[in-house]
């Protein structure tokens, strides 16, 4: 993939994440910070499908943005064909792993499989 496409995705995920994370934080504040973290409150949030969907989108956006940012820093720190391939593929694996791990929580709580 061309670097310009990767960086457009980087910027796009950042802008989308800003809007959705703002909603995520506002939910904590409007419900009362401590109350919103209580077990029952969290379960209720997860079971509300639009909110669970939003969490899933945030998970995908921030995983891509975060690990691509890490890839950029690592590529600038050291060079070499093998190293750069390892960094790029390593970041792709990390993105997938984090999305799978986070999705597992969202899906299992949302569907009551816990």
């Amino acid at each position: 993939m061309r670097e310009s496409i990767i960086m457009k995705i980087h910027y796009g995920t950042a802008l989308a994440a800003v809007a959705l994370v703002a909603v995520h934080i506002l939910m904590r504040l409007t419900q009362g910070f401590a109350e919103s973290l209580q077990y029952d409150s969290v379960i209720t949030n997860y079971k509300f499908l639009p909110y669970a969907g939003m969490l899933e989108i945030i998970l995908i956006l921030l995983s891509i943005h975060g690990f691509n940012g890490l890839r950029v820093i690592l590529l600038e720190l050291k060079q070499g064909r093998a190293y750069e391939k390892a960094v790029s593929y390593g970041c792709i694996v990390a993105i997938i792993a984090l999305i799978v791990y986070g999705s597992r929580t969202i899906i299992m709580v949302n569907t009551g499989m816990m």
């Binding site: 061309r2 670097e3 310009s4 990767i6 960086m7 457009k8 910027y11 950029v72 590529l75 600038e76 720190l77 050291k78 060079q79 750069e84």
Partner: protein, 252 residues
């Protein structure tokens, strides 16, 4: 070692002062690390760092290696780190540094030949890589006009960037260049903009493709250090962001 020069000692009108000039000495062929030699140099308010170094070569140690030519910020030869920042030695007056100790070192991010002289091969390679010439399908000799007309407004779009003297100070100050050996660098990227913005040039797509790789334009993070050290007011950071504007669809 501290030696004192006799600069201007015979002039009755002189109002010279003394500074300590610390010169980095390093020969990669037989030295394991950089060392510093100190010299006491007399200077007037108009004395440049290059003149002080040449004073050392003249009276104390002719083996100090330094590259220079025009002495008027035109040839781009005498770039070096002066008191921690990349500067042209011929364009930096000792009096403006406000320090009694002047430390001169070779430019960072360039391989050292010896002492203050560094290799420019990589800078010239990356400069060449972005095709620093007009790309045009028409042959002006066969055209009736025999010239490419350009309005003053079109000229303004790139003329600032054609002031580049390839001194390498921008590459020396760049934080990405500090660790990334493959980065194209601010000098070449600013020159890519200079040609892309030229209304006579038709090589935009070609150049944008060249700089669109994992060590190309996207490794610039707009820290702006390149523009702060440019001795010719080129403002490479501006050129790079304007160039990226084409790639992000903000400019056409």
């Amino acid at each position: 070692m501290a030696l004192t020069s006799g600069l201007a000692e015979n002039s009755p009108l002189s109002s010279f002062q003394l500074i300590t000039l610390r010169i980095a000495r390093y020969n990669p062929e037989h030295d394991s690390a950089k060392t510093f030699m100190e010299f006491q140099i007399q200077y007037e308010k108009w004395t440049t760092v290059l003149e002080a170094i040449l004073e050392v070569k003249k009276y104390f140690d002719h083996s100090v290696a330094v590259r220079y030519s025009c002495r008027q910020a035109t040839c781009g030869s005498c770039g070096m780190i002066i008191n921690g920042k990349p500067r042209l030695a011929c364009f930096t007056k000792i009096s403006e540094l406000n320090s009694n100790i002047i430390t001169v070192e070779p430019m960072n991010n360039f391989p050292i030949i010896r002492d203050l002289a560094v290799k420019f091969e990589r800078l010239f390679d990356t400069h060449h890589k972005i095709k620093p010439y007009l790309i045009h399908d028409d042959n002006e000799i066969t055209k009736d006009t025999k010239e490419f007309l350009q309005s003053p407004e079109e000229l303004e779009q790139y003329i600032q960037f054609s002031n580049c003297i390839k001194c390498g100070l921008c590459n020396s100050a760049c934080p990405t260049m500090a660790t990334d050996s493959s980065f194209v660098g601010p000098q070449a990227l600013a020159q890519a903009y200079r040609y892309v913005a030229d209304s006579r040039d038709k090589g935009k797509d070609n150049r944008l493709k060249i700089i669109d790789d994992s060590h190309g334009i996207w490794r610039c993070h707009f820290a702006g250090s390149c523009s702060q050290v440019c001795p010719k007011g080129v403002d490479p950071a501006m050129g790079i962001q304007l160039l990226r504007g084409y790639m992000l669809g903000f400019r056409s």
